[in-house]
Point group: C2
Chain length 516, copies 2
């Protein structure tokens, strides 16, 4: 058994059976090891931003890390933006980055780069293998790091000689002993319970795993019982919502609106998130969105078991299932007329199927849809935690790999879609059930708003040339065709509804260019 | 004048009048400053790999740095692979990377990242602006760093408040005092001259600026006079070649072939390059390609003036213009028949126009073309120095911006083309005279070869799934159409010739999918 085989077997032994990859020469022994370990599903991306974004999407839905296989420093570099997004979502990912043979590095060959230096800003754990025999142990260390708590990104750098060198028998496979999340102390539960019972205006802000399943139910019951309000940040890693689920408010993106929403509160209690902060700073506006005099209590962090903490808190305030607020189903009227942000939202409400995974990178267009879809069929909503665009189509790819039985709907701005458009090819190759709606407004619309918000005045022609992407016009139907994907273009809301339904009904991926 | 305006004016004052950009909120004041400084040409890329690769292409042809404008850590991250390639080519580039307002960073907002940490592996100089008033001085420091010597990448990180804060009058614009390249000492010239006159087998290896103009002529004369041989590395940043130019050998990529070529030599003299090293290491093969007992003399590095050094050396060995070898023009027979690597090379020979900039990322397909095109019309050949694919189409974009009066021919593998396919959009937007030939062999062909070369055996079906990109088939004509570019597909050599000629003759960019 060589080092690469030892690595692949250790991954499989520890339940990591999916690898998003774009390998190069230095990873050829890993690729060869796949022939002898067919349980490892390897998914090829034509660009590493697809690879790392897909690993993030996989984690968010599967709650188990995937591996990525990346080619040296530049391959990792191409994946950094979506690793940044994954880091901010606290997704567990195990990057395996090939490296030159150790003795070769001293000669500074063309592909030599500071891989560890590039990895550190996005990784909680970075190590370079020194020999084939110790790869299994090092791999387990990396797997443990991905579990945390809190979950995180680990980057294992694999010099060629450690991949092709011999690793010995039994020692070559080892088992992760990942720690469970920590239990929140009774003191903190008591403090939160007292505060919630005080009757003073309190906002419970949920993030991470508190946004789904039993944890979310308990949070709803606490709110129903104590009268506190419950909200998410503007962006959430994964949120279970829709009819029958606990309804949550959302802290607005725009600073002034966020300040207005938060103004009444005397207390904020955070669960797997931090106090609300502005996405960007603006001249004369605060970074911290909480009102003056509002205190913040951390009920639990991502390192803690939020399910237990919320159950304990629910018990402490005497909340029961009877207290749980439930989102009513909205009437699904099929919209018509020329497409705009408002009827696009209505079209989503009408068509989101039960169990859908909705990946939202719709930026400006989609801001209006979130409220409208609160009463849609129950679904998961996945958002961008790191703010780096080019996230939606790779995330959808990974989410579809993680959940082959669930439909994926990706709503993405045209500017964002172009960042990692190569995702479409992987979706076709893997026959994934993804329907991508590109909101084609032909501009970096958010920047037109931000230009004003940062006090830069009114953009002139030279500035506008940086904000508009209508010259030339992007033809997403042709782009999809170029990657073997069927696609359609719609300009009216009724056509969008039909196109979404057709996309979801037909096997395999499809793309809809929604002209706004 | 605010900090952003001070920055833009300082750039213009120092001759940096081109900015490849993909801005975000934190760069909006820089964008606003463009309205007041219309001499700055801003070129939008839909992905940062296009932006940084274009800046590299611009430098290689213009020998003057361009600026890039990148959005925070992830924007820089997306540009890292082509910055790596630029670093290895020793291209000067000035990155301007937006950053959160300093006080905002402490709250760890979504886009916060270790920008300096990401920049360091690809930059010789990294600094963060602390206030608007000192931006001009800092910008000059950055510009100086791009000039070197040797030329290099400088990354200036620009927090939002330093961009929108007030910068005072005169101090706001400053002038670079970049140092000229150093003069090589007489001792080294004498040593090289003695060695070349000894009659022992000697190889002069040229890189960087020694591969063009007077420096290349002098090198040719030295070889003609002394009987030494002259070669390039396998990859060169920019090489003037073709009929009438000094012919150069090329050290092969494959280790065994390189060892065979280099075996006869007792001495190697390097000019703006290093001793030859294998691209990758392979089991049982050396990293150093020079034969045992061969010594290496560094005539000059990229920090030195190679033009002067080669003139001095030519004088020392008594070489004159009469000694210069000249490449004969090859007969331009138009090939026909089903396309393959050999007749693709013939098609290039037949169609390369005088003054053409040929950007070569053809990987396996193109290896056979280099020798064949030695006697083509005189042209510049640009290659990938860093080994990170996705280099060709962005480089072509920047080269065309730098040299609007010269035709650009980009020969690129299908796998490479998909990395930064967004380049096509910028080429259309800027009406650039670029003809892109995609060599569509539907596989990472180089990896099939490398799989064997690293001793991984014969790839099985699972391994092959990582090496073949034919499922689904990429349709580059549709991809080009998706970005507003006319394109054609050819499968025969005679059709390729016609398509290249048409592409070069018509204004604006075009793409040819060459089916192999």
């Amino acid at each position: 058994m060589n080092g690469a085989e030892s690595l692949v077997e250790t991954l499989l032994t520890n339940g990591i059976d999916t690898c998003f990859a774009n390998p190069g020469t230095s990873e050829m022994h890993f690729v060869a090891a796949l022939d002898r370990n067919r349980e490892m599903r390897c998914v090829l991306g034509l660009f590493e931003g697809v690879v790392t974004g897909a690993a993030d999407g996989y984690y968010r839905m599967r709650e188990r890390p995937a591996a990525t296989l990346l080619h040296l420093g530049p391959g990792l570099g191409n994946g950094i933006a979506n690793l940044h997004n994954a880091k901010k979502a606290q997704s567990g990912i195990l990057n395996i980055v090939g490296e030159h043979v150790t003795t070769h590095l001293g000669f500074d060959p063309p592909l030599a780069a500071d891989i560890a230096g590039l990895a550190r800003p996005v990784s909680a754990w970075v190590r370079t293998a020194t020999d084939a025999a110790s790869i299994a142990a090092l791999t387990v260390e990396a797997i443990d790091a991905t579990f945390g708590p809190p979950p995180a990104i680990a980057t294992l750098i694999l010099p060629g000689d450690t991949a092709w060198g011999a690793a010995e028998g039994k020692a070559a496979v080892a088992r992760s002993s990942a720690q469970p999340r920590q239990r929140v102390t009774g003191d903190i539960i008591d403090k939160a319970a007292r505060l919630l019972r005080s009757g003073e205006p309190t906002l419970l802000i949920l993030g991470g795993p508190a946004l789904k399943g039993a944890a979310l139910d308990r949070a709803g019951e606490i709110a129903g019982r104590t009268g506190c309000r419950i909200a998410t940040q503007f962006f959430s890693a994964r949120l279970e919502r829709g009819a029958g689920r606990v309804p949550l408010e959302r802290i607005p993106y725009a600073v002034d609106q966020a300040l207005t929403m938060l103004k009444p509160f005397r207390h904020i209690v955070t669960v797997c998130t931090e106090e609300p902060i502005a996405f960007f700073a603006y001249p004369g506006k605060p970074s911290q969105l909480k009102p003056k005099g509002c205190d913040v209590l951390t009920l639990c962090t991502m390192a803690d078991d939020c399910g237990e903490a919320l159950a304990d808190l629910a018990a402490a305030v005497g909340a029961t299932e009877m207290d749980r607020p439930v989102q009513a189903a909205s009437e699904k009227l099929r919209p018509s007329g020329a497409l705009n942000a408002a009827n696009l939202a209505q079209a989503l409400l009408a068509t989101i199927p039960e169990g859908c995974i909705l990946v939202d990178e719709s930026v400006t267009t989609g801001r209006e849809s979130f409220g409208v879809t609160a009463g849609a069929a129950p679904h998961d909503n996945i958002q961008n935690m790191g703010g780096s665009i080019g996230f939606g189509t790779p995330l959808s790819t990974g989410a579809a790999i993680a959940c082959p039985d669930r439909p994926v709907l990706c709503v993405v701005g045209d500017g964002s879609a172009m960042y990692t458009i190569q995702s479409l090819w992987t979706q076709v190759r893997e026959s994934l059930n993804v329907t991508t709606i590109v909101c084609a407004n032909r501009s970096y619309q958010i920047l037109k708003n931000e230009f004003k918000a940062v006090g830069a005045g009114v953009p002139g022609s030279n500035a506008l040339s940086m904000l508009e992407i209508d010259n030339p016009t992007l033809d997403f139907v042709a782009l999809a065709k170029g990657m073997g994907m069927g696609a359609t273009r719609v300009a009216r809301a009724e056509d969008l509804c039909r196109a979404i339904e057709r996309g979801l009904a037909e096997p395999g991926p499809t793309l809809i260019e929604a002209q706004l």
